[in-house]
Subunit: 199 residues, 2 copies
């Protein structure tokens, strides 16, 4: 442990071999089509024995900020079973092994909303909840959109809605939009636009 | 399922009783001090039977954007066991039942970095990964800081470092900082500052 705040030093890069954690044993305690839950017996950074429950996500998460020529953003509404609430979010979906996240972005945008984008570029990459899970998310900005027919998955019951970009930022501030992937992708878009304006 | 994109309608608010999901049975498949994993038998929104694995977090997550009078932001570095990588993040910790998130913010800032803040205000609230978990995060902006002695938890092995606010934003863009809680809290701070400048 370093108790002395260091000023101005570059961040130290440590690879896996230098992990202060050691895994003694790993057991699969739960598995379904989306996640595997491991119970690990570990040696903690302080040298003492401990346990770690890790939620491994089979797919990476991919979110899409889709903006039209009227500066509106595409939102998808669905009831989220986990939190027992309706949630408005950017279109998103899972990127299975062997698929490129940008292909997932293209596919999910089409499936959930019907739209296709001429331009798709990476906005931001995030680990959504790294104290417990390894879930990694990729967010894309989709522009030059053409409408089409959506084809959502059977488990989904979605509403699709265009909303002014500025209004979405206000709804984040008012805690009406709380999905982390949506928040960080929309914020990154806002900051990028302000930077392009020379702010 | 609504396949017709609706334009300009206000978002519909649906309470739990109106959930298109129905739970038939719930089994605890794993539990430790931090999470409980449920396996649920459900009726899906399309009316067909299905399953849902839900990761319930015992604590809410609380993150703190701490900024000093030189416009530097406090980052904490630690090796994240789940992703097998070193990660630079804002100070953060768990808010147990019965504790107010702002109290957690005060406590974690002190424990992890030694600093106390005269001013603490809510920045943003997020559900970190709502397709699988119910984890809810609260982010605070801490200002008017006074240094002190840190006292991190035994499982933690932390480095503490001050970094220019603008530099942290660049490191998010370069994917050197990937923690979602850190990203959305820092971005919200950046957008708030730009709004205060009349941008």
């Amino acid at each position: 442990m370093d108790t002395n705040p260091r000023v101005g030093e570059p961040p130290i890069r440590i690879d896996e071999e230098n992990s202060p954690w050691r895994r003694h044993n790993r057991t699969v305690v739960y598995e379904n089509d989306w996640i595997t839950v491991y119970h690990d017996d570990v040696r903690r950074p302080d040298g003492n024995p401990g346990i770690y429950g890790v939620v491994h996500y089979r797919n990476r998460a991919v979110g899409i900020v889709a903006i039209d020529h009227r500066d509106r953003l595409l939102l998808v509404g669905q009831f989220r079973y986990t939190i027992g609430k309706y949630s408005w979010e950017i279109p998103a979906g899972g990127c299975p092994a062997g698929e490129e996240p940008i292909e997932t972005a293209r596919r999910e945008l089409k499936e959930e909303t019907g739209y296709t984008a001429k331009s798709l570029r990476l906005l931001v990459v995030a680990h959504l909840s790294n104290s417990v899970s390894d879930e990694k998310a990729f967010c894309y900005l989709a522009e030059d959109l053409t409408p089409g027919q959506p084809a959502p998955e059977v488990t989904e019951q979605l509403q699709v809605q265009w909303e002014d970009f500025a209004s979405v930022l206000h709804r984040i501030e008012r805690q009406e939009i709380t999905d982390a992937l949506t928040i960080l992708a929309v914020q990154q878009t806002a900051l990028m636009r302000l930077a392009n304006q020379g702010v």
